[in-house]
């Protein structure tokens, strides 16, 4: 997809965005970033028309009036822009470093093209947690290294008794410099870096990257490639939803279900491996189509999928119908529809509050939107709702894969890429990853090199939801609540 590129002056930016958002239903301000520190770039999506607009706002200095004051969903992105470009959002209510910690030199901005126009005021990279004061209030620090096998991040709970008054989440430990690396490597090898942004989302990341490249090159992939991409995307969703539902069962102590789910996830990974040679389907989706496709495996895949569906059914039903499990999950970790709308929450968490936003309905990715299944929603916004949405999506993913397997047609599964990318272009890939709306934005310079590559992972929206959902709940509910959001640390830290 090629977004409409427009220049908007700094003074008019907020009012223009407000007007634009009011101009149609479901319109979204997805994220704020910059190309090289000389401007702000705002990406706006209009799902109903399937269109996107990228607005550039030239900046005179290294600060601007914070957009967070008008659009709450920008708060996390403005922190990232501050770290990566040194652009300070004046008036930001919680301006703290997100990605670069104390171990980085002060005033080091990895994505900035030139030095700062004037010296930054305060930048010792130290991090101050919000202090909750009062008699009997105490803090529990957790992480960055957690007890289980999980990515690192730091949680600071302020508690009164067993109640959590506030949770502050500090991330950035996994920052690997992906966005910069993507501008440094040869663009034909960039897919391997894009995929490594979050490898539990390897297919969705590879697909968003591929769509961005293909839109710049103006090429269409063969129908067979689109079909295989759809299968891969849904297989990834299936595997990850299975492990997440299994994780919920484990955290409740429902170990029969959790063991079965971890075994069944192994089955879905076997299907993924039969399709692509790799359990995570890494290297499968490439710009121009798919690689490593083996047609002789399709028969086996169909049979195994059927078996998996049959085996999943009783396990999921056992979990769904268990009254103890339902009571453990109901009314805990609730987020409201208003929060989802204000903070731009996406994916399962949004659909669990009756917000039926699913990019597969609107944006071209694989065989979507033609093949888009009905959106699974629930309305209570709690842990139970998120689990039920995941279970519903397990069913729809299996149905979609089944349908696509029946309609595989043709032999060619990739097209040749041009030698060079087109100059001065902007390409965009929007994909519904299993966590929600994933966006890859790619800009080329006058010689066709990638000059800026930005990734918006669904977790960057949703971390806020977790810290608000857990307020006024028991500390013992946190693991369950955390699992129900199933957020990515790596995808956020990049």
């Amino acid at each position: 997809m090629i977004p409409l590129v427009k220049e908007v002056s700094e003074d008019n930016l907020v009012s223009s965005i407000k007007d634009w958002l009011a101009g149609g239903q479901l319109r979204r301000l997805t994220f704020v970033t910059s190309l090289d520190g000389k401007q702000l770039a705002v990406l706006l999506l209009d799902p109903l028309s399937g269109a996107a607009e990228l607005w550039f706002t030239p900046l005179k200095g290294n600060s601007y009036k914070s957009l967070t004051l008008s659009f709450a969903s920008c708060h996390w992105f403005e922190r990232a822009v501050w770290d990566m470009f040194g652009l300070e959002p004046i008036g930001h209510p919680r301006l703290k470093h997100l990605l670069l910690h104390e171990s980085y030199e002060a005033n080091y901005y990895p994505l900035r093209a030139n030095d700062l126009l004037c010296q930054a005021t305060e930048n010792d990279r130290c991090y101050k947690f919000l202090e909750v004061k009062g008699e009997g209030v105490y803090e529990i620090p957790v992480g960055p290294i957690h007890a289980g096998i999980i990515e690192p991040g730091h949680f600071r709970f302020s508690c009164f008794g067993e109640n959590i008054l506030n949770l502050e989440i500090r991330l950035g430990y996994l920052h690997r410099g992906i966005e910069k690396k993507l501008t440094e490597v040869d663009w034909k090898k960039a897919r391997f870096v894009a995929e490594a942004a979050a490898s539990d989302t390897a297919v969705a990341n590879a697909l968003a990257h591929a769509i961005a490249v293909e839109s710049i090159c103006e090429i269409d992939v063969p129908p067979l490639a689109d079909a295989l991409r759809t299968i891969a995307l849904e297989l990834e969703r299936l595997s990850m939803h299975i492990i997440d539902v299994g994780g919920m069962a484990a955290d409740i102590g429902f170990l029969g279900v959790s063991s079965s789910m971890s075994r069944l996830r192994g089955k879905s990974l076997e299907i993924a491996q039969a399709l692509s040679g790799n359990r995570f389907m890494r290297g499968f989706v490439t710009p121009g189509g798919v690689s490593l496709y083996r047609a002789e495996e399709i028969g086996g895949i169909r049979a195994n999928l059927k078996e998996l569906a049959n085996e999943l059914k009783p396990v999921l039903n056992l979990f769904r119908e268990n009254q103890t499990a339902i009571e453990r999950m109901a009314s805990i970790g609730v987020i409201s529809k208003a929060l989802v709308e204000d903070f731009g929450i996406v994916g399962v968490a949004a659909r669990a509050t009756d917000v039926a936003y699913d990019t597969r309905q609107y944006f071209r990715q694989g065989l979507y939107p033609e093949f888009a299944p009905n959106v699974t929603v629930a309305d209570s916004g709690d842990i139970l709702a998120r689990t039920l949405v995941r279970m519903g999506e397990i069913d729809t993913s299996i149905k979609v894969i089944d349908r696509v397997l029946d309609s595989l047609d043709g032999n060619s599964c990739s097209v040749e890429l041009p030698k060079k990318l087109r100059a001065d272009m902007v390409g965009l890939g929007v994909v519904e990853a299993f966590r929600g709306e994933l966006i890859h934005l790619m800009c080329t310079d006058s010689s066709g090199k990638i000059k800026r590559y930005a990734i918006k992972d669904p977790s960057q929206n949703n971390w806020t939801a977790l810290s608000i959902a857990i307020r006024n709940n028991l500390i013992a509910d946190f693991p369950l609540c955390n699992k129900s959001f199933s957020l990515s640390y790596g995808g956020n830290d990049l």
Binding site: S103, I145, A196, S199, R282
Partner: protein, 235 residues
């Protein structure tokens, strides 16, 4: 390894066309391949510690000098043993040097602590190694929640600047004797992140590593193989 899985590459005796072809080196996303010399003295050097298993080199080698390796027994004790050269003399010298650890305190069972510093694929595969299919626990391997309880530290990911201090502190909190296992290509060399400003160049640059498990991510069987090597149960 299951028949449908793509393995990592290996080198064969089949003569390579040398720098006149050079396709494998050009196409490799992590510059893990080096072709040098010409004619009869042509050599291919392949660093499995940088390889992310994309299999492009295997598919693009016209002389079958680079082939698929179906084995999951890939873990080694020394970093240089992951550097393959298609010259038998060198390989033999390596295998002679391969030795079991001097002391073998973890012979019967091992408590492992997992620290992730990467994209989560390796973490999921360590998790999978413990599931009912692979069942790592039947070899006496447990994953524990505290460094105080751990004999071995399994590290995944390239260890960027943000995780270097927490990782060191985790290691220091473990009691002797202890060992470190680098799980996956990122943990060995930085993988696709190598040379980034975040100094994400692998565990080696922060801690002494005892066992290296290549793969991106390594298959659960490979992880079990590597942990058994760390226990001294396998050579």
């Amino acid at each position: 390894m299951e028949s449908t899985a793509r393995g990592l590459p290996k080198l064969t005796d089949s003569p390579c066309r040398g720098t006149s072809c050079n396709r494998c080196a050009e196409i490799c996303p992590t510059n893990a391949i080096n072709v040098f010399g010409s004619g009869d003295t042509t050599k291919v050097a392949l660093d499995l510690g940088s390889c992310i298993g994309c299999s492009l080199c295997i598919d693009n080698c016209p002389t079958e000098t680079i082939r698929e390796n179906r084995s999951t027994e890939l873990a080694v004790r020394r970093r240089e043993h992951l550097l393959l050269i298609n010259d038998h003399a060198v390989e033999k010298e390596f295998s002679k040097e391969e030795e079991s650890p001097k002391t073998n305190p973890f012979g019967m069972s091992l408590s492992a602590r997992v620290v992730s510093t990467g994209c989560s694929a390796c973490d999921l595969e360590i998790g999978a190694a413990g599931n009912p299919i692979f069942d790592m626990e039947r070899f006496g391997v447990r994953v524990v929640a505290s460094p105080r309880h751990a004999d071995a530290l399994l590290v995944t990911g390239p260890v960027g600047k943000g995780m270097q201090m927490p990782l060191k502190r985790c290691y220091e909190a473990m009691t002797e004797p202890k060992s470190v296992v680098a799980v996956g290509t990122c943990a060995i060399s930085g993988g696709v992140h190598k040379g980034s400003y975040t100094e994400a160049n692998g565990v080696d640059s922060v801690l002494p590593v005892d066992v290296y498990i290549p793969g991106c991510p390594p298959h659960p069987w490979s992880i079990i193989d590597g942990v058994l090597k760390a226990m001294g149960k396998k050579r």
